[in-house]
């Protein structure tokens, strides 16, 4: 018993070192811009760089847009599949998993081929069109997470009976989705939304190849040209991701709480 506990602890400690050491190294390095002492100079440089504000703001906007589009796309789809097309569920699930299998570079090259200025829908010909294309691309990348989160949320509901109850009270489809389904899967949507946010903030390939001023390419640019600032940027990016993770944890804890109370 004691021996087994020792090995478990050892594995845990080794794992923690494996994950934490590079981070600690990066953090330590990011603080050494001033010779001979620790300082936050690298962070000051990054945070006062106007490009940081521009790209970060752009990516935040993109993330919010992706979340809205994803919710509009996924919630009605997942609801309808659960309600009327349960036989299609494996197909839809497979489709939503495809973005995990197909690399973003393939997606973006496909986009560029399909929507270039010589095509019948020249989306890449204007800034607005390219932004839209980027938004669609991000929605595709976020699809597996969003769909899974919403589908799990729907599973805890008796979707069919709630729908029928609302129908018998005179509600149409939009009312049912807006007043009954959406509020009950809101917690699931939020956890999907935080994941989407984290993905979009750090995304590089789509933004770089569509030549949009997003946070990912900015990180790459800094990383290629500076010494200490990239480390600071990496720490900032990690902090943002962790914040999102923390929020998911918070939200799921809240969800479990209500679910347990519902079962009583």
């Amino acid at each position: 018993m004691k021996g087994r506990r020792f090995w478990a602890w050892l594995a845990l400690i080794l794992g923690m070192i494996y994950f934490a050491l590079p981070l600690i190294g990066t953090l330590e390095f990011s603080l050494r811009m001033r010779r001979g002492e620790y300082s936050l100079d690298a962070y000051r440089v990054i945070l006062s760089d106007p490009r940081f504000h521009e790209t970060f703001g752009f990516s935040v906007l993109m993330a919010l847009g992706t979340i809205v589009l994803g919710v509009l796309l996924v919630v009605p789809t997942a609801y309808w599949v659960r309600l009327r097309l349960p036989r299609w569920r494996p197909v839809i699930e497979f489709l939503t998993l495809l973005p995990l299998v197909i690399p973003p570079i393939v997606v973006v090259f496909g986009y560029i081929r399909l929507y270039n200025t010589a095509s019948w829908l020249p989306l890449t010909g204007s800034v607005g069109g390219t932004n839209l294309l980027l938004l669609f691309g991000y929605t595709v990348l976020a699809l597996p997470y969003m769909y899974r989160a919403v589908d799990t949320g729907l599973r805890s509901l008796d979707v069919a009976t709630l729908t029928e109850a609302a129908q018998s009270l005179g509600a149409g489809w939009i009312t049912i989705l807006w007043r009954v389904i959406l509020p009950n899967v809101l917690v699931a949507i939020l956890s999907g939304a935080f994941l989407t946010f984290a993905i979009v903030i750090g995304e590089f390939v789509l933004a770089a190849l569509l030549n949009r001023p997003a946070f990912g390419p900015f990180m790459q640019l800094i990383g290629a040209n500076r010494a200490y600032e990239p480390a600071a940027l990496a720490v900032i990016a990690f902090a943002i991701t962790w914040l999102c993770m923390g929020l998911i944890q918070l939200v799921t804890r809240f969800q479990k709480h209500t679910q347990i109370r519902q079962r009583q």
Binding site: L157, D158, T161, L162, E164, A165, A166, Q167, S168, L169, G170, A171, G172, T175, R179, V180, P183, N184, T258, R261, Q262, R263, Q264
Partner: protein
Amino acid sequence: MAFLEINSLQKDFGSARVVKDFDLAVEQGEFVSFLGPSGCGKTTVLRMVAGFETPTSGSIHIDGQDMVSLRPNQRNIGMVFQSYALFPNMTVAQNVAFGLRVAGKLKAEIRATVREMLALIKLEELGARYPFQLSGGQQQRVALARALAVKPDVLLLDEPLSALDAKIRVSLREEIRTIQQTLGITTIFVTHDQEEALSISDRIVVMHKGRADQVGTPFEIYNHPATRFVASFVGTINVLNARLLEPEQGIVTLDDGTAIRLGRPLPGSSSDPVALALRPESVALGDGGGGIQLAGQVASVNFLGSVIRLSVRLGENLILLDGFNQPSSPPPKVGETVRLSFDAGALRVLGE
């Protein structure tokens, strides 16, 4: 034309016909129960009235208006589900107000109706609670109030008591009946529990394999079952397998040769098989129970407290009989030969 009229309703799921030639006319304010075992089609008929299933053929009219062409949310029907189906994200008051809000009623009117409905189900003080904070019985009462708030033409109850425990089931069914009579609302109640159906209905539709076997008052259904299925499903009953001996004089024989004179002409011809139904409470031990007297061997004795239930073997047939417990005369023992008697009028000839 009756208030709710269902004509030659059929429903197929794939190649299986689950509802066959179903006809029913329900008067305004009537409480009708659909009674039958699971899979008999009772819920499917109810769901077709609600609009959740589309009939394969046939018509449904409420107050003269055709329902089949309307969507569920256009039918003005109140529905209560077995699983309550309260909206988990809304309070009790918001649940009750839902239909009124959808209908675009004024806030003051909604508030007044919600208060009235909560008073009707005696849960005035729980308006701010969420469904998960209520017991099953309370949740179902809220579901009832929610369905009634929109003043539906017809109230549909789909096994509303099945998920509740025995005591609450009885009190809530009485409450449902009282509310239904107060409001005078036309109601269809689906159940597989015969006691429930017998105790609260104006009329019962006994369903079997997608058909309405019999439609009648609880008294008629219990005392004059039309088919062997109705007889066996509603209450406990003895079904005696016999053969016609002399149909014109109403004489049949049991398989052990015992002749029974019913004293009324029977349809059919000599030596046709015939099934006779007999309630256990109509049979008496001894010769004092009526004109038909038989003898048989006691097969089992069940002491149920105030009632003693014996089963007596007569050839192949087993007759159950109920007698009151009398401390002065202990029940017979298994294997003993006893005499039993009943009135010829208590025997019913069953159709198939």
